[in-house]
Subunit: 251 residues, 2 copies
């Protein structure tokens, strides 16, 4: 551990981005030394290097959520458009967390007099701004990567509301196992929402039909006959069995 590492890390993390030149001025060494000292840090992932400057990996951290929002963006926008066709002005809907839900919330800004319950702060704040909507945020403490809550109080809120629709998502769709997610708490919220909703709308983009790097293992609650499956392309034939009783929608 070089003697400058601590100070360098500290400076960069504090300011977010700082140029190599400025760093050399601050630490009182040549720019070449800054490059040399920072190289192991960059390799180790403690810092990011760009031409002319070093940027804190922490500061670039606005990206994880945005990055996910931008994965398969077109697909998600298309799906959101289909979902919105199902929802009418004045309807009530429960919305789970997930990047697709974010897009649906965006699209739902064109609907009026909605009653919404969600455990995603992003969805809540997006829809609460629309005059005439009645939005309830379920839960208190927010998970940091997506701003969603899985508190006990979230269940209390969800269980109090009787809604027309529930929007659900999944991380992977498996022809035999069904709709899968990574965390049990997500399943629990989905179950609670489903129990108090008329019809479910399962929204998954086509990438969810293909194997994932990080394999989810937890099964979302089973959908009722007549529930919607909204996706951006016709699903492969292997899934025909799984989707037998569902109403499938795609653009």
């Amino acid at each position: 551990m070089s003697k400058y590492e601590t100070m360098l890390l500290q400076t960069v993390d504090m300011r977010g981005t700082v140029s190599v030149q400025e760093l050399s001025r601050i630490l009182g060494v040549s720019d070449q030394t800054i490059r040399r000292v920072s190289r192991p840090l960059v390799d180790r992932g403690a810092l990011q290097k760009v031409h002319g400057a070093l940027v804190s990996t922490k500061s670039a951290a606005d990206l994880p959520y945005l990055a996910r929002m931008n994965l398969n963006r077109e697909a998600k926008v298309a799906i959101a458009g289909e979902v919105v066709k199902i929802i009418q002005d004045g309807d009530s809907i429960a919305i789970d967390t997930g990047s697709t839900s974010g897009f649906v919330a965006q699209a739902l800004r064109n609907r009026r007099e909605l009653t919404v319950v969600t455990n995603s702060a992003y969805v809540a704040s997006t829809l609460a701004m629309i005059p005439g909507n009645n939005v309830s945020m379920a839960g208190t403490q927010l998970r940091d990567h997506d701003g969603a809550s899985f508190d006990r109080s979230a269940f209390d809120v969800i269980e109090r509301m009787q809604v027309d629709y529930v929007l659900l998502s999944a991380s992977l769709v498996d022809a035999r196992k069904g709709f899968l997610v990574h965390e049990q708490c997500e399943v629990d919220i989905a179950s609670a929402m489903l129990a108090n909703a008329g019809q479910a709308i399962m929204a998954v983009d086509h990438s969810k039909f293909e194997p994932q790097m990080r394999k989810p293992a937890l099964r979302q609650p089973t959908l009722k006959p007549g529930d919607y499956l909204v996706t951006d392309r016709a699903p492969p034939d292997d899934f025909a069995g799984l989707f037998a009783n569902l109403e499938i929608r795609f653009p």
Copy 2:
């Protein structure tokens, strides 16, 4: 990843729409560079491009709220900058609702490991996305024009948290009556936050020193000696008495 990306994103997200020329002035580079730097960002969907300007993809979602956010925008941005100087990485802070709070939340994205409690869904979702933050949303049912909550449960959450700072705002500052707002529920939330906070930070832009069309009549709780008053200009002399014990900050 270019060295300007962070600053560019931040500027655009903060202001909603900003012209290429202004951006080049702000970052101190040519307009051509702005176009070059922004291209990958718009490809990635992090920004939207229109003729002559860049617009934040987020801003589209927050449009109604943003309309209010754009009143006295420079003043509020300046105030947010000052407030952020007070807050350190790792601090805990309670944040009330209001457009200035929205800007402070944006600016606080540069701080790490914050513990935040707020009754504004916008503030909550802005800060919850930052990895390492611990954000609690106080309240359930959201008021439609600003997405804030004044539920009983909001008080429960606020009263449970002991924080270093509380950020408060006001609709009008009267030399004799003090800091005024329109609704009793806002005072109640402010009182609850204040009771559990170390130092208060009252943030008001200069327009709040002048008479308003809609006159607020409810007085915010009294500040303690040593609490901060952050504003964008030196306040008129008539207010010297009111601010006697406060630490006044402005750019």
